[in-house]
Symmetry: C2
Subunit: 220 residues, 2 copies
């Protein structure tokens, strides 16, 4: 084991720790919605600066490693990908904040309907986040491919939620404002899952040199 | 002038070229909506693979430069930031595609209302994109600060569009589906502006070492 090996291991741990912070933010944002707990939502918003701090810390560490250790091909690619991944994680954290803001607004109005599909979506997205970071640090492309598949389930749930809420809006004009906010939350979760999918694509590109979504012109 | 200086200049040119492709995609996506020209929308969607190809090309060039030239502090930071910026540009391209998809759907239904604020939003977002890349290559933080300010105008327009469409939806249930699609387009443009703002923040961090949005806990 060289010092550089140790440093790479530390870097991986930091990324996983950042992932856990983001996962907790997503989980609590949905809990604040389902339990109508605006205090929890405000706490998640307050906590976001921790995620941002770890993002900056990892970025600086990556720059330092590149400058000091002059890593070769595989390691260099791993480190530059780490810098991109933390940007995705940081934005997932921002989206959890957005969920909290809508939750606070929704909690001030009477409930429109019980939340069923939203927590399901969040659960899938959280699983994608945890698993994709695992795929990244272990360079496991099979998990990465699986995550890309799971993104379809999230997209389908978004459409389902959207259609259901559209029905509410058409039935009752007083539901419009709340229904639109709930579709926004579904969209935030969809984007969180998209970020996980972006990371999965980077993992595959990193390991196999294969571009999944990129470059190929659309099939139609 | 060393070879490395030439290479850096080429890199900057490639990034600007990628920016122009993305700007054209945004412009045409809105044109396809306003002119109800679904053929143009489909063309923008087909063209997106060009943006993705340039993204990969720039990424590979950055990795090559780091490995081969072992750039020091400032140049290294410039190159790693370039890699992050192209990710933002690529996603702006994806959002232009999303606008086109909604435009195609909307063009199949009778017009709900003339589009006034949406083209205004797009124009601001396009200006932000072009200017932020200029700020990046010239390391001009004053432009970057200005872009962050302009993002507020975009956010205000989003709220305005949202409120206006909410009114349509409450008045007429048949307007709901179209109105929701238009709010989505406003959201896509807002996110395009957000990406430009993210880039502006990176430029400031790069040049001044100051973190604009990050780390500071929210003021409330």
């Amino acid at each position: 084991m060289t010092i550089f090996d140790d440093e790479l291991r530390d870097l991986k741990e930091k990324i996983l720790r950042m992932g856990l912070l983001v996962e907790a933010a997503i989980r609590d944002s949905i809990k604040s919605l389902v339990d109508r707990d605006s205090e929890l939502a405000r706490e998640v918003i307050r906590r976001d600066h921790q995620i941002n701090a770890v993002d900056v810390e990892i970025d600086e560490e990556c720059i330092r490693l590149i400058a000091l250790r002059q890593p070769k091909a595989g390691d260099l690619r791993f480190i530059t990908t780490a810098m991109k991944i933390t940007t995705d994680l940081e934005r997932m954290g921002d989206l959890a904040e957005d969920v909290c803001e809508r939750a606070i607004e929704l909690n001030e109005e009477p409930p429109l309907k019980p939340y069923i599909d939203i927590p399901r979506m969040a659960e899938i997205a959280q699983g994608m986040l945890i698993d994709v970071l695992d795929a990244f640090v272990r360079k496991e492309t099979s998990i990465a491919y699986d995550i890309i598949k799971r993104d379809d389930a999230v997209d389908n749930l978004t459409v389902q939620i959207f259609n259901e809420l559209m029905f509410f809006m058409i039935q009752d004009p007083r539901a419009v404002s709340r229904a639109v906010k709930i579709t926004y939350i579904a969209k935030y979760l969809e984007r969180i899952a998209d970020h996980a999918t972006n990371i999965a694509e980077m993992v595959i590109y990193n390991v196999e040199g294969r571009i999944i979504r990129h470059m190929a012109p659309p099939s139609e």
